[in-house]
């Protein structure tokens, strides 16, 4: 049987001799570029994929808006976050503080009723009202958002550097070093954050410092796990060996060859860590070990509002909405980034 098959494709029967014309390009044919698989830079691809995702874009817009308000919001009026607003009553000569006022916007009031306010604070604008001490809530909410965001960004940035270095080094050297470093991570990971806060509170003064240290001690672990896993994936590849052959040292391979390729998952992890940090700060302040008066953060404002929730429910609304929107937006952006950075085949 095999003989027959071979005979069918025998070379002797093929008598065609190619001429020079066969090698000329046929320009009459329609030649187009394959746009579907067009080559484009990695980051350009990430950008286009990210901005195609409606949820991610909404999240980004919310974050940018909140950041803008956190930056300029407290400066839009002259109250200041810790000043108690008061006016002197001309009839009695007494000083009256603007305690627990509901939202008080003269322009809107005039628009809807056609009259000015006739109370003592006719000139003042309190968009979110005032708190039970007489401080302007608008200023305090945006100042608090600023504090919360700052804490989150700073701690997560430091955690990223620490966790990433730890994970990359642990993964790169492997063996004994990895074993010891992983036991360390295991122990660090087995202490609940609450316990860390409790122990810290025994020798640190409560306030921003405590929150930052507590976050620094816990959030790097997730980062290091991801960096280690990425290192395991990458370190066996040929280009690392090539780099090694050309004489690159360990530090160069870890931080110049591998690090840039792990940046995607790490940025994603950062995006998910920021809401965790904001939430932790809010939670610690709510419980009473976080930000102390007259400073404020989103969490401490929620606590303030919660104390008066039955009588003055409007006080809790602005900080809670800011917190909820921040968490939602960062989660959306994190999801969007994850999909944009590591697209699956079926999504393309």
């Amino acid at each position: 049987m095999s003989k027959k098959k071979n005979a069918a494709f025998s070379y002797e029967e093929n008598t065609y001799v190619p001429t020079a014309e066969d090698f000329v390009l046929d320009l009459n044919q329609d030649i187009t570029t394959d746009r579907n698989y067009a080559s484009q830079g990695f980051w350009k691809g990430v950008f286009t994929r990210f901005f195609k995702n409606a949820r991610a874009v909404i999240g980004l817009v919310i974050i940018v808006l909140i950041i803008i308000f956190a930056l300029i919001g407290p400066g839009l009026n002259h109250y200041g976050y810790s000043n108690i607003v008061s006016v002197v009553d001309e009839e009695t000569g007494k000083e009256i503080t603007a305690r627990s006022m509901p939202p008080h916007i003269p322009a809107l009031h005039k628009l809807f009723t056609g009259e000015d306010y006739d109370d003592l604070f006719a000139e003042h604008t309190f968009i979110f009202g005032t708190d039970s001490m007489g401080r302007d809530l608008w200023t305090r909410v945006w100042y608090g958002a600023r504090v919360s965001l700052l804490i989150a960004f700073v701690t997560i940035f430091i955690d990223m550097i620490v966790g990433m270095s730890f994970g990359l080094i642990s993964g790169f050297f492997g063996g004994m070093a990895d074993n010891i470093m992983q036991r360390f991570v295991e122990i660090a990971n087995s202490i609940p954050r609450l316990v860390i806060v409790g122990v810290l509170a025994t020798f640190m003064t409560k306030g921003i410092g405590l929150v930052i240290v507590a976050l620094l001690l816990t959030e790097w672990i997730g980062m290091s796990k991801i960096a280690r896993a990425e290192m395991f994936k990458i370190k066996g590849q040929e280009y690392i060996m090539a780099s090694r052959t050309l004489g690159a040292g360990n530090a160069r391979i870890i931080f110049k060859d591998v690090l840039p390729n792990t940046i995607g998952p790490i940025i994603t992890q950062m995006m998910f860590s920021i809401p965790t940090a904001i939430f932790t700060e809010a939670f610690l302040s709510f419980v009473g070990v976080g930000i102390m008066l007259p400073q404020c953060s989103v969490g401490s404002l929620i606590e303030d509002g919660f104390n008066n929730i039955t009588t003055l429910p409007y006080q809790i609304l602005p900080p809670i909405l800011v917190l909820a929107f921040l968490m939602l937006a960062f989660n959306f952006v994190g999801d969007g980034l994850r999909e944009a950075l590591a697209p699956r085949i079926e999504d393309m």
Binding site: A201, T202, K225, F283
Partner: protein, 332 residues
């Protein structure tokens, strides 16, 4: 298999011991004063310190502390909370309250999460799926205490269906709201995870094969899909229980429950931080955390035959066997 469990148990005990030592060291060595110094004279403080053995070398103190716990199960006395009542007389009641509410919350959350997730996966793209997606986004993203506050405001203050504060006398009625608000996060996480896991299994080749052999409906779902989809859910329950510990702190503050979370907050926010309470609760929390991880690790191992087989091969077991490793793989 047996070796893995033994190794895991020993690891857990060692970790707990190291953590206990670290906590003890931190609490005792770091600067700070367990006594409200304005109210006590120097001599009184010195006398109290000697009485509590705070002047001994740190290792001796640690040895005494461990011996005390092992021998009599007591964690010493509080220094400022509850007028210095022994901790072991306060703790059980607090633990009872916390565990009952936490237990209801996690059971309810996991059960509802499973039901929702399965409903969503079976009706892909229809109402339940959309509902499940929205719930999981909202539940995961928005902090649970926002819900707690709203629930309390609307259902206990505006409409007085439930009591405003938790009350041990009519436990069932007053536990509903705290447990419900605590369970929301676990419900949404489990729902999302179940749905994704189910969908993945339903798209796999062996389900297609089963279908092509003529299997369909409930039989297919229960025999082939659920069996494989439900195993990984054990891995998400551990972090959920841990989150519950944190959530319990807020719930106990909002609903005025006398639980361990409230005890912890009282110990660190009162005047004169109560070192003994911080230490005892720190050890308790760490032990809980490590214990839960251990139990779920072992359960996971027992449930999934694939891991058991992998565990018998020489070195492989560490990389594929533990839920932690799996989690890493999922994340990667």
């Amino acid at each position: 298999m047996g070796r893995y469990i033994i190794k895991r148990v020993i690891m857990a005990v060692v970790t707990l011991f190291i953590i206990t030592f670290l906590l003890f060291l931190l609490v005792r060595i770091m600067p700070g004063n367990p006594f409200p110094s304005e109210r006590m004279s120097d001599e009184a403080i010195a006398k109290k310190r000697a009485e509590m053995g705070l002047d001994d070398p740190i290792l001796v103190q640690f040895g005494n502390y461990i011996a005390q716990i092992v021998k009599s199960g007591s964690f010493g006395k509080g220094s400022s909370l509850y007028n210095g009542a022994p901790i072991s007389s306060v703790l059980p009641k607090a633990m009872g309250n916390s565990f009952r509410i936490g237990g209801i919350a996690i059971c309810f959350g996991v059960f509802m999460g499973l039901v929702l997730g399965i409903a969503a996966a079976l009706n892909r793209g229809k109402f339940w799926d959309v509902f499940c997606t929205v719930l999981s986004i909202v539940g995961v993203c928005i902090p649970s205490y926002v819900f707690m506050i709203f629930l309390q405001y609307f259902f206990a203050y505006k409409v007085t269906i439930f009591p405003f504060y938790f009350n041990n006398r009519n436990f069932l009625i007053s536990a509903i709201m705290p447990a419900l608000s605590l369970s929301l996060f676990s419900m949404s996480t489990v729902a999302r995870f179940t749905r994704n896991e189910m969908v993945e299994v339903m798209d796999s080749d062996y389900v297609l094969l089963a279908e092509s052999k003529g299997m369909y409906g409930t039989k297919l779902t229960t025999r082939h899909v659920l069996r494989n989809a439900l195993i990984p859910i054990v891995t998400v329950i551990a972090p959920l229980i841990v989150d519950l510990l944190t959530g319990a702190l807020v719930v106990e503050k909002i609903y005025g429950i006398n639980g361990i979370g409230k005890l912890m907050v009282d110990a660190i926010t009162g005047e004169g931080i109560d070192y003994n309470y911080v230490l005892a609760l720190g050890i308790l929390y760490s032990a809980l955390y490590i214990g839960i991880m251990l139990v779920l690790d072992i359960v996971y191992c027992l449930l999934d035959p694939r891991i058991r087989v992998a565990g018998n091969k020489k070195k492989k077991k560490k990389e594929t066997g533990t839920p932690a490793a799996r989690e890493e793989a999922v994340q990667a």
